[in-house]
């Protein structure tokens, strides 16, 4: 069984699909934020890898063809961006200030907390790009000397966390303006958060898509400065 599954791309992709499908079904039945489909799917597929004694690397290799879709899917975020262009343009200054504020707040908060927990510079750098999309974050971590695979996990964790908590944070902090919701979600939790913003509504999704790009670029510029200070 283990041997068959580890050799079969289709079987591995099926595990991924089934996990998400079950996660989605559970979420439909009990719509609690903790029972987020993505979170449940990650736990279920990690459980499958463990129970079937698959090697995580093999599972990852067999899922390559599926993950090939990630870049084209990111490119397609141009669609909500285009559809909401007038609205984004009208509020462009507010959106830019919101994103910049978020990036700076993120950097300094991680800086202070890392000092408080006595993390070394490598660990600090590993955590620093946590809120940007994987491809940019990976580059930042690598360039400044972080532990790249750990950065990747922390980025995914941040995304899932943003995805799970988005609605609650917006409600608790009374962020009601869709554009502002999108900026908050996108700046804090990149693409994974954006998929939640798109569920909330189109405007939030577009603002969130814009945040992925801008927050990513700003973090790439800001991170070397903070790493030098640490």
């Amino acid at each position: 069984m283990t041997e068959f599954v580890s050799q079969s791309s289709l079987a591995c992709i099926l595990i991924t699909f089934l996990s998400y499908w079950i996660g989605d079904a559970i979420h439909k039945k009990w719509p609690l934020p903790v029972l987020n489909p993505l979170l449940v799917a990650i736990i279920l597929s990690a459980g499958c890898i463990y129970v079937l004694h698959l090697s995580p690397d093999e599972f990852s290799t067999q899922n390559k063809s599926l993950n090939l879709l990630l870049t084209p899917a990111t490119v397609c975020l141009a669609l909500p961006l285009y559809e909401q262009y007038q609205l984004l343009k009208k509020n462009f200054r507010a959106l830019c200030i919101g994103i910049t504020g978020g990036v700076i707040a993120n950097g300094f908060l991680i800086f202070i907390l890392a000092k408080l927990f006595h993390l070394d510079q490598t660990q600090f750098i590993t955590l620093l790009p946590k809120s940007v999309t994987t491809a940019i974050g990976l580059g930042i971590s690598e360039e400044l000397g972080g532990i790249v695979p750990v950065t990747v996990i922390i980025i995914a964790f941040t995304g899932v966390l943003g995805n799970v908590s988005a609605r609650a944070v917006c409600r608790l902090c009374r962020i009601t303006e869709p554009l502002a919701q999108g900026i908050g979600i996108g700046t804090a939790s990149h693409v994974i958060g954006t998929s939640k913003a798109l569920e909330i509504n189109e405007t939030a999704g577009a603002a969130s898509s814009l945040s992925i790009a801008l927050a990513g670029i700003l973090t790439a510029l800001f991170a070397p400065l903070l790493a030098g200070l640490y």
Binding site: L95, G101, G102, T133
Partner: protein
């Protein structure tokens, strides 16, 4: 054929993004380049929205599924590097993510509301 045509156009922009990523020295991923290229093409009218709409929406809709495997296998294969960071890393991640979401969201909302109140139509 409609879907094939749409997917071809999307892949064309993805590849163009890849080329830019290869040529330019910035640490910006090809997906972001591709996104801006497609966005410019839509704005300029080079590509009509209808030419990519259904396939584009499908890809955006399935996006969360694409995050399952990297997170699951990453979690299992990097456990030994992750363990020393587990407690401080989780705390820092949770605190800073919620904080940033609040700061960015409130800041943006504040400026938008302020502008609306002033009845300012300029920007």
């Amino acid at each position: 054929m409609k879907y094939l045509e749409q997917l071809t156009i999307i892949l064309l922009f993805t590849c163009a993004g890849d080329v830019l990523h290869y040529l330019l020295p910035f640490p910006i991923p090809s997906g972001i380049y591709g996104m801006f290229l497609l966005f410019s093409a839509l704005l300029s009218g080079l590509v009509k929205k209808e030419k990519i709409k259904q396939t584009g929406r499908f890809l955006i809709a399935v996006m969360p599924v694409l995050f399952v495997e990297p997170a699951a296998s990453g979690l299992l294969s990097n456990w030994q590097h992750l363990r020393p960071l587990l407690l401080p890393g989780s705390l820092i991640t949770i605190l800073s993510t919620l904080f940033v979401m609040t700061v960015s969201g409130r800041l943006t909302q504040h400026i938008i509301m302020h502008k609306k109140r002033k009845g300012d139509t300029r920007d």
